[in-house]
């Protein structure tokens, strides 16, 4: 076999390897073997006919080139059911993985968010319990207050003392020079059920972690201790973004991982 013929035969074999790559082994091996045998027979015939090597090489390459479109269309026909089965298996795994990741991300966001919010109640709880104890033992309302603050600008805690008729007796929290009013029913609910924890929004964009603690003694009433949620809101926002980024990355990774699943032949 001349170098030209050998080179042409190599090109034909490489083309066959290329367009059969990734196909099921029976179809792939059969086509490669058939092409190998065909080329061998053509070279043998060329020898017997004393054909010029350049002509044989050109004939081999011509057969390749003229049939290339049919090679590709045959490949498409053979691989179509495999691709479909692979896609179906891949989609099933990916949907399951993405659903699990989404549930886990939501639970993490909810759990950590609640833990952040509950953590914001710690200081108001301590303040309300202390003030309620003092008021129950007869201390005057003004004596249980921490330093007065402007709720719009200060994150420091404050206390408001109410009498049993829900009138403000003393307050260290001010908003535009006044003590803001509580929503209807908050103190009544605490009177009926005991201590309550709420998120209070005394003005748009202003959120407070508030604890309402009823107290007894000679002049019963309610203590409200609260602290701004401004810092917590920032942490919750960054938590939301972090979990969203982790969720997105995890879904993308699960997508990549499922693409490497072995193909399921129909």
């Amino acid at each position: 076999m001349s170098r030209l013929q050998a080179a042409a035969a190599r090109v034909v074999a490489r083309w066959a390897r290329l367009y059969t790559a990734g196909l099921p082994a029976p179809a792939r091996d059969r086509r490669r073997e058939e092409i190998g045998a065909d080329v061998h027979e053509q070279l043998a015939e060329a020898r017997s006919r004393h054909e010029r090597p350049a002509m044989t090489a050109a004939a081999l390459l011509s057969r390749l080139a003229r049939g290339a479109v049919h090679d590709l269309s045959w490949r498409h026909q053979v691989s179509r059911p495999i691709s479909l089965a692979r896609w179906q298996a891949w989609r099933r795994w990916w949907v399951t993985g993405a659903a699990l990741i989404t549930i886990a991300a939501f639970l993490a966001w909810l759990g950590y968010g609640l833990s952040l919010r509950n953590g914001a109640d710690r200081q108001p709880l301590r303040l309300a319990a202390g003030a309620a104890g003092q008021l129950a033992s007869g201390s005057p309302p003004g004596s249980v207050l921490p330093p007065a603050i402007n709720m719009a600008s200060s994150p420091a805690p404050f206390i408001i003392v109410y009498d049993a008729r829900h009138h403000v007796l003393a307050s260290s929290g001010r908003l535009s020079g006044h003590t803001p009013g509580l929503p209807d029913g908050v103190l009544s609910w605490a009177a009926a059920h005991g201590r309550d924890r709420i998120t209070w929004q005394p003005a748009p964009g202003l959120r407070e972690a508030a604890v309402i603690q009823p107290y007894g003694g000679p002049q019963p009433g309610f203590v409200l201790a609260a602290q701004s949620l401004q810092g917590i809101s920032g942490q919750q926002r960054s938590l939301t973004w972090t979990i969203a980024a982790i969720w997105l990355a995890a879904v993308a990774i699960s997508l990549l991982m499922t693409r490497t699943l072995p193909a399921r032949t129909p």
């Binding site: 059969r30 073997e33 065909d38 045959w74």
Partner: protein
Amino acid sequence: MRRRAGELLPIEQAILAAGIELAAGGEPCFHGFAMARHIRDASAARQLTAHGTLYKALARLEQAGLLTSSWEDPGLAEAEHRPRRRLYQVTPSGQQAALRSTGQRASTAPRPDPGLSPA
């Protein structure tokens, strides 16, 4: 190429006709290159049928039940120091399809192509 069910493409007609001719000449089985060579010689063409065209058509005919195929005895190929051949044979359905196709061509074309006619 779109075609009606049961209709044969020219390459498929040529393969079946050549297979029938070879069988009539005492070679009931043929391999890919032998088919390409027979079609070239019968139609006085200058070139062999392209690999892709030939083997795709063979696969299609086999799938349609007009041909059967099997690998030859590996010992035989080894003894002759060559790759083993995939051997094809025209089935009775293939013979009927070839005859029908020839009849259709005869009814529509006044001058049949002698290279593609069954023996």
